[in-house]
Amino acid sequence: MIKNDEIDLEVSNLSISFNKTKIIDDISFNLGNGEILSLIGPSGSGKTTLIRCLSGLDSPEIGNITISNVKVFDENTNVAVENRDVGIVFQDFALFPHMTVEENISFGIKKNNNPEKKTSSIVELLLLCGIYNLRNRYPDELSGGEQQRVALARSLATSPKLLLMDEPFSNLDAIFRSQLRIDVKRILKYLKITCIFVTHDQQEALYMGDRIIVLNEGKIQQIDKNINVFQKPQNEFVANFIGLADFIEGKIADNYAQTEIGTVEINSNVSNGDLVEILVRPDDVSIKKNKSGNGFIISKEYKGMYYIYHIKLNSGKMVKSLSSHINDYDVGIKVDVQLSPGHPLVCYKNKLIV
């Protein structure tokens, strides 16, 4: 856990509603110094609203927000956005179109700062973000990826206590996206910036975040290290949202569960004889061509290095299986389906982890 003196952002009991619908419903979480937190959720889950509340662009109805030990919001205080020392990178960049790259970046740096120091810090940022060569261009002369780098540099120039990135890569081409997220993570870690990274892309969330918050309908579904969110989703919603997931019914015997596609080791605290739902990822399921198999392929997705096969079991259940690209099966053929995870699986009762 994070120690108290390392906490950079403290949010407790935050709520906001719009037209009597709760957009954010009683949210509390902490964020440590230099930590990157991925905030993921389907659209309409309240991600952007949460970000706007934290920055001060919108005001919550109730709750407390403390940014590096300064209370910026509670029932008595509401520090204006310009005084919160927060940076935002917007989804659509919001670069000032009438200023060059360099002017955009230096915009947030206060005049009374030492001018030499100001120049050197700008140069540093330009180099760090890989936009030094673009410094005299105008935003409309830049590509999307370049614009996003400028936007990042601009928000970093003020050395904010907290950086909020609102789906920063969603407007970019896939090829820029993967390169940019590597660069951004490198920059953030280099500067030790505390950051909340909003996304709806699970790959991005898993890559960027030290920890992940999964948000749905204004409520936190799970907040945990990224490995845990994938491997031990707290509920079926999280399991489905992060990665592909199927649930197979199983009966507990000792530390094992018996299912219709084999017996597996489980990592749950349940008693013998209980009926549970077991989370099965496609890589946990292997298939083999067999005319008397226990399921048949109803469709397949070619992913380059591998296939994802959608299989209907004899019982009518659906599972997905990841299979190497050498195993090219035709749709409709019978296969043998076998669970072979190589690690214990987690179980659910009433859609919650047990």
Partner: protein, 528 residues
């Protein structure tokens, strides 16, 4: 293949060159004949007088417009809807009428003087004749141009920019100055140019308020049958206006790419909380509306009440045809100006800079020149080359168009710059013809600019005088000629009633255009 719109554009070019052919024909030799006159002290004084008035009216109106658009578009101002309409109404008042009313109220022995005297104070009030009167009167007539342009500009600025600037540590006002203002620069200067050119070509107000400007001198020359002298002076006027126009064109062509190009998300606009300053802002708005609208309105009623006739008799003097002519003439001119603007903007692409420069400057000159020059040049042109259309609706509307096109062109070009013409190209690539594209793509897409351009032209045409008098068909009158006729002959009640009718006619489309925008916003919100 030779596209039809190229031919059309060619004819539009010719149309806009008509005044210059006329001026060239009558004025050039006169300029050389009286070259020593051009450098006389009188002449230079006249030019300085004119420029001082133009600059001061433009600056004042722009500042007022900026304040008003900030208050109504960016703040949580109360009674916003009413203010938006009240603030535009001064546009409606013809300047020759405004000048007269202005003297009745502020004049040395006007209503204010009477009021102060009735309170027991004696002595004179400051003299309004000359510069100060002309300045206040024209500013109060012109600020709506700045206001309209700026509020449209503010509506189209990407409000994310404001968020970004606030996050970077700038408060509302610094953000407005550093981020919003540079992004509405085009609107700001478009309004400013309109005001400058209006002031430059105004005759009614300056003559009533006894301030000598260049246009007044041109009219004086016409009045003394000095056609050549008037043409020569008009050429000088055109030369004076070149810097203004050069500036205007530079603003619209070159800077268009550097402005915010994203229409804002209408539902997500965060308004500035005026808090305790709400009453102060309301008060300032009230003062502006008082000077520019309420007082003229009261004076119109005073004029009407002077008569011994009943209201019915006064009304019956005004022919229905004058109302009809005003509405039809202004609407047709508005539509034609919109079509021409779209045709030119969409066909002369940004790459075609020289041609566009040429057209835009010629077009702005049209607004600079006094109406009488345009009118007489069209008489000259049509009597010699287009006799069948002489003294018909056609020539009248063409005259209006040359005079006022630049006021429609500005807002439309802003709209096109904002949205871009890629949708038009998309439509063309889908095999749609130009008319189909115009109706289904251009008009809905550039609607805000089109509505504003149409309104500008509609309002100006409805109050236009010299072109109407000279180019109109026989037996033709509009409300504006009725006002002029009766004001001139001291039939004040009739003039007042006609003025009132004119105001009502212009308020209706103005109100509707604002209303349409509101409906659109509601519609978008409901969709979400």
């Amino acid at each position: 293949m030779f596209a039809i719109n190229r031919i059309l554009i060619f004819f539009i070019f010719i149309l806009f060159c008509v005044p210059f052919i006329f001026l060239f024909e009558f004025g050039v030799t006169e300029i050389f004949n009286s070259i020593e006159n051009l450098f006389s002290i009188n002449y230079l004084n006249l030019i300085t007088n004119t420029l001082i008035l133009v600059v001061s009216v433009t600056v004042t109106s722009s500042i007022i417009g900026l304040f008003l658009s900030w208050a109504t578009e960016m703040c949580d101002l109360k009674y916003k809807k009413i203010w938006r309409i009240l603030l535009i109404i001064p546009l409606v008042i013809p300047s020759y009428f405004a000048g007269y009313i202005f003297i009745l109220f502020y004049g040395p022995k006007g209503e204010i003087f009477d009021f102060i005297n009735s309170l027991g104070f004696t002595g004179n009030i400051p003299n309004i004749y000359g510069f100060w009167g002309a300045w206040v009167c024209l500013s109060s007539l012109c600020y709506p141009y700045a206001y309209l342009n700026l509020s449209a500009g503010l509506k189209s600025v990407d409000r994310k920019l404001e968020d970004a600037s606030r996050v970077l540590g700038y408060n509302h006002f610094k953000t407005f100055y550093k981020i919003i203002l540079p992004n509405i620069k085009t609107s700001f200067f478009a309004g400013g140019v309109l005001i400058a050119l209006y002031t430059l070509s105004d005759f009614g107000a300056v003559s009533a308020l006894q301030y000598n400007t260049f246009t007044l001198a041109i009219y004086t020359k016409f009045r003394s049958f000095d056609l050549n002298g008037a043409a020569a002076s008009s050429i000088i006027l055109v030369l004076i206006s070149i810097p203004i126009i050069y500036y205007a064109i530079n603003m619209s062509i070159i800077n268009s790419s550097r402005i915010s190009q994203r229409p804002s998300n209408l539902s997500n606009i965060k308004l500035f909380d005026l808090k305790k300053y709400q009453p102060l802002v309301q008060f300032i708005l009230f003062i502006i509306v008082l000077i520019s609208f309420i007082i003229p309105f009261i004076m119109i009623f005073t004029l009407i009440s002077r008569t011994n006739l009943g209201i019915y008799e006064t009304f019956s003097v005004i022919k229905y045809s004058s109302i009809y002519n005003t509405i039809i003439g202004s609407s047709l001119t508005g539509i034609l100006c919109v079509i021409i603007s779209l045709l030119v903007i969409l066909n002369l692409s940004k790459k075609n800079t020289i041609l566009r420069y040429f057209f835009e400057s010629v077009m702005h000159f049209g607004f600079t020149l006094p109406g009488i020059v345009i009118a007489l040049s069209f008489v000259y042109f049509s009597i010699n080359y287009m006799f069948p259309i002489y003294q018909t609706w056609v020539i009248l509307i063409l005259g209006y168009t040359v005079l006022f096109l630049s006021t429609a062109y500005g807002p439309i070009v802003t709209s096109v710059n904002l949205i871009g013409d890629r949708y038009i190209n998309a439509s063309k690539s889908l095999g749609k013809g130009p008319i189909n594209t115009l109706i289904n793509i251009s008009i809905p897409l550039y609607r805000p600019g089109i509505i504003k351009g149409f309104l500008n032209v509609f309002i100006l045409t409805a109050k236009e005088l010299p072109v109407t008098l000279i180019l109109a068909p026989l037996n033709f009158n509009t409300l504006s000629t009725v006002i002029w006729d009766n004001l001139e002959e001291a039939n004040f009640s009739t003039a007042g009633v006609a003025g009132l009718l004119l105001i009502i006619i212009i308020i209706i489309p103005t109100y509707l255009s604002i209303h349409i925008d509101d409906i659109k916003i509601k519609f978008i919100n409901r969709k979400k």
